[in-house]
Structure formats: structure tokens, C-alpha cells
């Protein structure tokens, strides 16, 4: 051991390996990735799953079909700007759209807790139906299970989406190339902060509404613009920071973003300041990130801006050959900050 001086002691022992599931395993950060890599992939391994996209492409009798599934456990069930019903439709349709596919149909599975008020269930199912019909995608199969009181938090929904793949339009996380421009379609951080503000226990008043929206129409504008979009990603759980990290890792490029142009609305920024959170890691449910060749950037921006959900589209950064697999933020003062995946959930800071 090294000699120690008067005011020196030592510090902690290593963490023991996790022996139980923790909330952080569902955060979309490093713990989620480790759970996937160490527990699920070894057991369920196959070529389609190994790609770890928003969903998978499978060949059904000569036709390429996209499949994506997602489970929704949001609390509260109804929040400013949406509810778990519309969110369950938007979330899965968006994942199908991010693979460049046209959604064809949805399935829905419900886990209901004994004692759950039927009038709330009616509202949520109605909201689901409205969202699905607005998107023109029918819910074609479903399932319902009821568990004893206390075994679930009111209501959970799983949705699976099926889409028709498009051979001419196949964005994928591993297709980002150095030189690509990184575009975001709108303001960041709204969904996560709306949920935080609405959650019981945080005496906190704001006007933030969730951005929950179906992005299928917006993606159609990109398809018809006939641009080779390399990557599309909806930065949901883990926010823009986590999505960019996954893309950088999948394609081996470095990503550089510019803090001064990040579209963070004032109310989101204020709520993040108060709660000690970073908007880059806050969930979104109605925006997309696109990596496109620099020469097509203006056409992509024009296409996105022609749709109401893309009116605020702008370039926030670029893919580079330097620091492969890492995301760096150029701060407003000209410094550099590494934007890494978080280990687990974002925890509010003391000071």
C-alpha cells in the first residue's frame, strides 16, 4: 500500500453484482443494455434480434415485414398532452416508422388490476381507438388479463406493430456515416418533464404538455422526398443523449452536437433546472432524430418542416470520424462535454 499523508484515508469497496432487478434496469441506460446483453440475448439469440433496432425485419413468404413491440407502464395513466392509450399506439407505430416501414396493423395486450375504474378504462380505450384511426392503422388482435389488487399499478398495455418494409427506404442505426448531418424534428424533453410534473409527490406547477404524437405522417414526408436517410430514431426512454449514443455505437462514428442550437423549450429548461435534471436524457414521444448525407440536409429539413410535427426541425450536429462510438457536446462557451449513456435512471442532484 502507498504511504498515506495525515488527511488521507481510503474509500469504498467495489459494488457487489446485482442480484435483483432494479428500476435502473428499465431506464434505457447502461443497466438496461447490460440486462439485454447478459440475460436476454444469450438465451434468445438470432440474427434479427442481434441487430437491436427499434424492431426487426423478417421475411414472410418472400415479403419483408417489420415487427416491433413495446410495453407501456406510464404513471400517471393520464397526463397533460396524452394518456397511456394514445401513447401505446404512438410509441409502437413510431418504432415501425423509424425502420422505414409503413404500419399495417397493431395488436394490444392489457394487464388490468382488480378494482380498476371502468370509466377510466373506457376513456383510455377510446383514446387508443382515436389514435389508431387517425393513423389509419387498425388494432387487429388483443388480449386481456386481470391480476389481483396490488399486483399491478392500475393498467399496463403492450402493443405490437406490423409494417410493410420499403426496399427503397431503410434507415438503420448502423448506417450512420461520418459526414452525416444530425437533425431533430422538434423540441426536446417535453414528455418526460410533463410526466415528472404530473406525478404525485412533486408539488410543482408547470404548463408542460407531453409531445406524444404519431410520427408516421412525418416519416412519409421523408420517404416522398426521395432522400437516402441513413438513420431514423425516436429518442424515447433515455432521451436524445441515449439515442445518439446507441447510433454512435452501432455505426462506429463519433457524434458531435452543438448546445447552442438544441431546441429545449423554456418551460422544460426551467423544470429541469429546478429538478436538477439534464433535458438531453429526458424522454420524448413525438420527435425523431435523422442522420442524413450533408448534401441532402436542406431537402430533409424542408420535407420535415412541411409537416406540423416537423415545423421546428433543425440541424443539431454531425457525425464525424473522430472519437468513434462517443457523443460529444460543444458547449455554448466553446468547451467540450462527453455525453455518455447514464448507468441507470437520472437522479436529481443535491447541490
Amino acid at each position: 500500500m502507498t504511504a498515506v499523508s495525515p488527511v488521507t484515508l481510503a474509500c469504498p469497496v467495489p459494488l457487489v453484482a446485482h442480484d435483483r432487478v432494479q428500476l435502473g434496469h428499465g431506464s434505457g441506460g447502461k443497466m438496461s443494455a447490460a440486462l439485454l446483453r447478459q440475460r436476454f440475448l444469450p438465451a434468445l439469440a438470432n440474427e434479427a434480434l442481434a441487430r437491436l433496432g427499434d424492431g426487426s425485419m423478417v421475411n414472410v413468404a418472400g415479403v419483408d415485414v417489420v415487427v416491433s413491440t413495446d410495453t407501456f407502464v406510464v404513471s400517471p395513466l393520464e397526463f397533460p398532452g396524452g394518456d397511456i392509450g394514445s401513447l401505446a399506439v404512438h410509441g409502437t407505430l413510431n418504432d415501425v416508422a423509424m425502420m422505414g416501414a409503413r404500419p399495417v396493423c397493431l395488436t394490444a395486450g392489457f394487464v388490468l388490476e382488480e378494482g380498476f375504474p371502468l370509466d377510466i378504462l373506457d376513456r383510455i380505450v377510446r383514446s387508443m381507438a382515436d389514435a389508431a384511426s387517425l393513423a389509419g392503422v387498425p388494432v387487429v388482435a388483443g388480449d386481456t388479463k386481470v391480476v389481483e389488487r396490488g399486483k399491478a399499478d392500475g393498467l399496463y398495455i403492450n402493443t405490437t406493430g406490423i409494417g410493410a418494409a420499403d426496399a427503397q427506404f431503410r434507415p438503420a442505426p448502423e448506417r450512420a456515416r461520418a459526414g452525416d448531418v444530425v437533425i431533430v424534428s422538434g423540441a426536446i424533453g417535453r414528455h418526460g418533464m410533463a410526466i415528472m410534473a404530473a406525478r404525485e409527490g412533486l408539488a410543482f406547477e408547470t404548463t408542460i404538455t407531453s409531445d406524444s404524437a404519431c410520427l408516421v405522417g412525418l416519416v412519409e414526408r421523408l420517404r416522398t422526398a426521395r432522400v437516402d436517410v441513413h438513420v431514423l430514431r425516436d429518442p424515447t426512454r433515455g432521451g436524445v443523449a441515449s439515442a445518439l449514443n446507441e447510433i454512435a455505437a452501432a455505426s462506429g462514428v463519433g457524434v458531435e452536437i452543438d448546445e447552442t442550437v438544441l431546441p429545449v423549450p423554456d418551460d422544460v429548461r426551467a423544470a429541469c433546472e429546478v429538478l436538477g435534471l439534464d433535458p438531453l436524457y429526458v424522454a420524448n414521444e413525438g420527435i425523431l432524430l435523422a442522420f442524413v448525407p450533408a448534401e441532402d440536409a436542406e431537402r430533409v429539413l424542408a420535407a420535415l418542416r412541411s409537416h406540423p410535427l416537423g415545423a421546428g426541425a433543425l440541424q443539431i450536429g454531425r457525425a464525424i470520424t473522430g472519437h468513434p462510438g462517443m457523443v460529444a457536446l460543444r458547449t455554448s462557451l466553446g468547451g467540450t462535454r462527453i455525453v455518455d449513456l447514464l448507468p441507470g435512471d437520472q437522479l436529481p442532484r443535491i447541490c
Binding site: T8, L9, P12, G252, G276, G322, A328, L347
Partner: protein, 374 residues
């Protein structure tokens, strides 16, 4: 955003950075005391912008980093009790104790809740009279008034099921310990603005004099910190060593008397161990005997527990500025953000984690890009 964006204005910051570089005729070593200031420095990349003019040592002002292992272990023991609702500020949840952290206790069935204010914890106690509600009262003089207020209110309202596990520390004794250390490298301090908003700066005047060291009471926004650095460098360049106040919009010399009074009414000074540094005399706060009924350690009979820290971690030398993280033998090999040996590698503002990310970034930036362009 009003009162915030003004203090992040790049058009003002850039000339300020140039002025610091022009003023410094040699590289100076400054320490920012507070974790909130470290957060801004790391987030804005100020270290990098001032390279060659100022070396910042990230000081021991992060409650997450310096709360001793014994207190973390006591928190874990309380949180695991079935009759307890354990409440804490968010970032204490993943500080490693001897064999786990609060998040893991929660996963094993412990009732652990994040609160933003100790008064919220008191409210939980009033709503759950059948449970024992414990609040983890950590932090510096900044959190002490609110924590004192919660205990004071609990006594006033007669809430018998509310207690606090106290691990408070105070800044001036830490500055003194660092300056007295034989191989100290710190030449000037940025004192923590919000600590001084409560306590004022009279305690710092004898320190500046005795140790002949400039101390600048500094705020938390980028322009605050740059201005604080400039004031410290100007003192160093002209051979002065006084206490100056950069954070004039929040701090007065006498602090906030009402808050100080409440803190002094509820707490008294005590010797306190700092994780990674060791025991510093009269550097901590504990409840006064009149408030003993709200002391979780007494109520649950926790007493003294014996713990062993990893001998491989050199956090103490890093916190006191004697060792740069990359020179630690465990840095980046046996100690990484995924498998931290110490608290400094846990928090993203911890000095070791900050250096780790920067080192990884620089190595990757210089390396031959592997298969990035095809």
C-alpha cells in the same frame, strides 16, 4: 430564461476567458469547493478552455462523495427495515455502501423514496403515522437550514414517527485541513456561494489571513465561476490574500441570520469523518440534546459500526488535490464508472469520472478512426 441565461452568455464569457489567460503570468492552481460548481465546470468544459492558465482541483464539496461509509451503511440498515420509509435526496441512492446501495435495498423490498425537501419527508411521516419515516440529512451549510427546519417543525407539530439520520459537514474546517496538509498544491479557493448565502463569509477571513490564500465567494453559473477565477487570479498576481465576494446578488457578509439561527438552535458542532479524507475536528453537525427524539441513530440504537474502505482507492489524495486521478494506480483499469472503487468515480461530476470521460474522449479523438468511413 430570466436570471439564468444572462449568466451563461457566451459573448461575455469568451472575453472573460481571454482576460483570465492574459492576467495569469503563470499557471495557478485553484480549488472550487462545491459540487455544484464542479458540475458547471465539467458541463461547460471550462477546464479545457482555461488549460495552461488555471488548473482546477475539484474539492471535497460534494455531499455524495464525502458522506462517510459508516453513515451510508447505517442508511442501508434503516432502509431495509420493514417498518421504515427511508427518504433521501436523489443522488444519495447510488452511493456504494459496504455491500450495496439504496437502489438495491429498494429492489429487495425496502421502502426508499426520493424527496426534494426534508419538509416533504415530514409530510410523508404525517400521512403514514403507522410507519417510521427517516430522512437522510446530508449536505453542507446549504441544506442544513431546511433540514433543521424539518426537525424543528416535527417537534412543533409533535410528529413522533419522524427522525433524521444526520451526516452534515461544514466547509471552513475542510479548507483549513487542506491548507495544513504538507503537500498541499491549492493556491486559491472559490468558496461555495450558497453555503455563504446562509453563513456569510466572516469565518473565511481568518482562514485567508492565516494561510495567506485568496478566497472568492463564487456563484454557480458559468459567468459567476469565470469571474470568481479572475478575481482569485488577480489576487494571486498582485500578492493579495483576502476574502472577496463575486456572488453579490445572493451573498451578504453576515449571511442569512434567520437561517443561521435555526441551524444553531437545532444542530451543534461535532468531529466528523469525511469519506476519503478522514476525521476533521469540529467539521460536522449533529442534533442538539433537545432534539434527541428525532435522532434516528438513537431511536434505532445504531451505535458505532466498524467498516473497511478499499485500500486501493486514493480518493482522499484526489479530493485534497495531491493526486490527479489519471495517476491513481487503479484509474481506468480496476476503477471505472461501471465498477467504481470510490465515490469520485460514481457521480458524473466526481473528479475521477470527469477525468475518465475526458481521457477516453481524447484517446478516441487521436486514434486512427476505425472503419468510420467506408
Amino acid at each position: 430564461m430570466k436570471y439564468l441565461s444572462e449568466y451563461r452568455d457566451a459573448a461575455i464569457a469568451r472575453p472573460l476567458i481571454e482576460r483570465i489567460k492574459r492576467t495569469a503570468t503563470r499557471p495557478w492552481t485553484l480549488m472550487e469547493v462545491c459540487g455544484g460548481q464542479t458540475h458547471t465546470i465539467v458541463r461547460q468544459g471550462l477546464d479545457e478552455l482555461l488549460e495552461g492558465a488555471i488548473e482546477m482541483i475539484h474539492g471535497p464539496g460534494c455531499p455524495v462523495c464525502v458522506t462517510p461509509l459508516e453513515q451510508i451503511d447505517k442508511a442501508l440498515m434503516l432502509a431495509a427495515r420493514p417498518d421504515v420509509i427511508f427518504t433521501s435526496f436523489g443522488d444519495m441512492l447510488r452511493v456504494p455502501g459496504s455491500d450495496c446501495d439504496l437502489q438495491q435495498v429498494r429492489a429487495r423490498g425496502g421502502n426508499v423514496r426520493v424527496v426534494y425537501s426534508p419538509l416533504d419527508a415530514l409530510e410523508i411521516a404525517r400521512r403514514h403515522p403507522d410507519r417510521e419515516v427517516v430522512f437522510f440529512a446530508v449536505g453542507f451549510e446549504t441544506t442544513a437550514p431546511a433540514n433543521a427546519m424539518a426537525v424543528w417543525r416535527a417537534r412543533e407539530l409533535g410528529v413522533p414517527n419522524f427522525t433524521v439520520l444526520v451526516s452534515h459537514v461544514t466547509v471552513p474546517p475542510a479548507i483549513s485541513a487542506i491548507m495544513q496538509s504538507p503537500d498541499n498544491r491549492v493556491q486559491g479557493f472559490l468558496a461555495a456561494g450558497h453555503v455563504c448565502a446562509v453563513m456569510g463569509w466572516t469565518e473565511y477571513e481568518p482562514l485567508a489571513m492565516r494561510h495567506r490564500v485568496p478566497i472568492v465567494v463564487t456563484g454557480f453559473e458559468p459567468l459567476d465561476i469565470l469571474e470568481g477565477m479572475l478575481m482569485a487570479v488577480e489576487q494571486l498576481e498582485t500578492g493579495r490574500h483576502t476574502v472577496e465576494n463575486q456572488y453579490v446578488r445572493s451573498v451578504r457578509r453576515e449571511g442569512t441570520p434567520a437561517a443561521r439561527t435555526r441551524v444553531e438552535e437545532v444542530f451543534e458542532l461535532v468531529d466528523r469523518k469525511w469519506r476519503g479524507i478522514g476525521e476533521i475536528p469540529m467539521s460536522g453537525l449533529r442534533l442538539r440534546p433537545a432534539f434527541a427524539a428525532f435522532d434516528a441513530e438513537l431511536k434505532f440504537g445504531l451505535g458505532d459500526i466498524h467498516v473497511n474502505e478499499s485500500p486501493e482507492c486514493h480518493a482522499g489524495e484526489v479530493l485534497t488535490g495531491k493526486l490527479k486521478p489519471p495517476r491513481c494506480p487503479a484509474f481506468g483499469t480496476r476503477c471505472t464508472p461501471e465498477h467504481p472503487l470510490g465515490a469520485l468515480m460514481v457521480s458524473s461530476e466526481g473528479a475521477c469520472a470527469a477525468y475518465y470521460h475526458l481521457a477516453k474522449y481524447r484517446a478516441a479523438s487521436e486514434a486512427e478512426p476505425a472503419g468510420a468511413v467506408s
